[in-house]
Symmetry: C2
Subunit: 505 residues, 2 copies
Amino acid sequence: MPTFDRIQYPGFQDKIMTAEQAAALIPEHANVGMSGFTGSGAPKEVPLALAKRIEELHAQGKEFKIGLWTGASTAPEIDGALAKVNGINMRMPYQSDPIARQRINEGSMQYCDIHLSHVAQFVWFGFYGKLNVAVVEVTGVLPDGRLIPSTSVGNNKTWLEQADMIILEVNDRQSMGLAGMHDIYYGTDLPPRRKPIPMVKPSDRIGEPYLRCDPNKVIAVVPTHKSDRNSPFKPADAEFVQIAGHLIEFFEHEVKKGRLPANLLPLQSGVGNIANAVLAGLNKGPFENLTAYTEVLQDGMLEMLRTGKLASASATAFSLSPEAEKEFTENIDFYRDKVVLRPQEISNHPELIRRLGLIAMNAMIEADIYGNVNSTHVMGSSIMNGIGGSGDFARNAYLSIFMAKSSAKKGDISCIVPMVSHTDHTEHDVQILVTEQGLADLRGLSPKQRAKVVIENCAHPDYRPMLKDYYERALKTAPGKHTPMLLDEALSWHQRFNDTGSMKP
Amino acid sequence: MPTFDRIQYPGFQDKIMTAEQAAALIPEHANVGMSGFTGSGAPKEVPLALAKRIEELHAQGKEFKIGLWTGASTAPEIDGALAKVNGINMRMPYQSDPIARQRINEGSMQYCDIHLSHVAQFVWFGFYGKLNVAVVEVTGVLPDGRLIPSTSVGNNKTWLEQADMIILEVNDRQSMGLAGMHDIYYGTDLPPRRKPIPMVKPSDRIGEPYLRCDPNKVIAVVPTHKSDRNSPFKPADAEFVQIAGHLIEFFEHEVKKGRLPANLLPLQSGVGNIANAVLAGLNKGPFENLTAYTEVLQDGMLEMLRTGKLASASATAFSLSPEAEKEFTENIDFYRDKVVLRPQEISNHPELIRRLGLIAMNAMIEADIYGNVNSTHVMGSSIMNGIGGSGDFARNAYLSIFMAKSSAKKGDISCIVPMVSHTDHTEHDVQILVTEQGLADLRGLSPKQRAKVVIENCAHPDYRPMLKDYYERALKTAPGKHTPMLLDEALSWHQRFNDTGSMKP
């Protein structure tokens, strides 16, 4: 096995091994903390080898499952492969993989869906038990043993510190130009010893460019050569462009009213095509010298950095299309001083989100007429992905915005419903709802006032009369008129969809 | 009218007037920010005079309503009197008055129920429109015009700064010994100019002992002589004592496991008899040198300060029984350096709650088997009080605990239900549930695992078989097994209560 020129710490030379050899070192029932936030920076080989090992053990009738903790979603090589062989007992804190989702929804895999800012501290507190193994992808190892992080930071700092055993994947497909782009803050602590986090603007660097790592805990170093799982970029469809248009019009209005500065406030933008559409709109819009303090940098934000609309961007991970990844790598020197990648406990930290005053823009599955938002469940019972960082941002932001198309499944699902089938963001945390139909500004409104503006501005015209009818009957007959609801009808739209395939009667 | 020896600022002498004269200066449709947090420190005379004026105007067929903003709940002289004459258009951010509640639930008064930490900043941001008038009770006015705060701070700093017109009530029933107990932080700002809040322990003083006030905005100074509305202290009943017992056992267990320091972490304790019972339990318990960082200081915390169990306490208001208030006033020199009263944006600030690592203990109306909590609504439609600070604390605390008796209305209501009829704290924010039956530790559990422990440990035995039956049928038939629910049955317990007066079949 050749030594590998990115592994410059001498003490690691005799720990270089294959993914299979490394995977064999992971004990049964271990809690394993893996790198990865979206497809970026996830280990590429050890999880696949572990899945193979588990498959073989299961074929021999032996039990073998791990607890899998990550930054957020990962890639098919992790969630997909390990879920396929039924190798995961408990999954935390977020996933978006089709096979993992199926496992969870069929009941063969446990899933604990956690605010992403909470994960690191709860592991430090010991609330989730012992973390046994860390499997972390890095770009390289410095001569002194410190690690050049990869395309995401996520919870890697915590995994490296908390795990007893560390397996490193050193991926030479990640650009060495990433070195210097990261900012790993080592000032966190357990209460009662916590101090203020010394950041006052999104571009501040408050930590170190490299991850610390106790070399004595490293049990394996696996060279890899594989790209991140990158999702193709989809151009925005008409409804997404309309949503972006409503939002930009709203921002212009807020600037005019003096409620936002001319260059807005730091942008947080969820992952997905709706977010890319909003970013594309902002890129063509009237606002200059913007900043971003967000979880994930998608194509749209890189584009805005290129055009100069965006002065700087802070995140914990990239999530790029193959084309954007290529452009980014080729021009990495341009991006290095404009991008900061941080641990997710910092990118999503309530203290910083509140201080910086973010504009939080997140997608939702559905909202109800009173402004409660469901981000995680389909028809109440089935998980889609998870809450991710949306709660961290929505609760603490300057402005909390949720977006969706007003209908889904060719019109058979209304995304505005009498009552959400699962609540992730309560009426107290939702200020602005946007669909392609329009924007509802819920700030300072009572539930009844909200209902009117949500139905009028956001609901799809096919469902508007049904929502009005529900609301009016609820107002007439509910025992309380503060948040009038018909208990026996509030979830009937979801039931009807389950029964007939459509929320329409 | 005599000048008043607590009003030492010369410029106010010619502004001294009666409550009736002051109330006459409040314009129609004004947004009025009043002091008051629980019954403490609320203005005593001007709101009553305003209510009288409104009643007379209404009798003449004239419209007159105000927007009423406060710290939190107030007293019958404000909420009760103004609601009775139907004088409130929009009420924010919290109330607990029977007449106001009735108005809201009959639909004749709008109510916007807001996280208490959000209120000041949203007013600063301009999200709620212009604040026209501040009506603030103070203990006295210094020669330079600064104000000695009263028994609560609440949003008074913001009201005094944001309102165009200020009416002061100077209440000589409040002890001059309060001077020096307050800590008014003037370091807040609007983003993007915000800085870290320099507090690292609950007893830190980071501000000034007095409220600043632009004397040119003061249009009236009204001497008053009236006690705060104080609620009688109720000794804990058996169930409350059991809840306290479960909690203390849990804390001992956490200390043993190394997940809590021996003197715990700063305590936050909601208002009410359940909170007092827990504090009484802690006062007899094994923990020494405790601290509190909370919203409201009740009898229980004063008692703990006296016994020395509690080293210091930070809050935004007192809420004492008449006996405790008497004891407090007589021994105010003992309490002055042990108690800090702060603006509620600081007492409830996410940055500080997270940094200090609070143990958040709040009451709830109901929880569901998956760990969602309803703090605000009765049977979905009717408001009880409001979310208050519970969300500020639960989301950002080290430990997030919710407590209730397992049943109410002589057993006709189960406080553990298949699905909460309104969600204020989502599954992502609830770690520990406690009833007199026992304690459910939900940390790191999937929804299905939570359901088992909630039903087993917290539900009332009368309802346990029904809950098990619901859960098992949901698990069998729901399309998704992540959070199995029966859409057409999830809210049927509430409907049954509305129909028959009992959740029992």
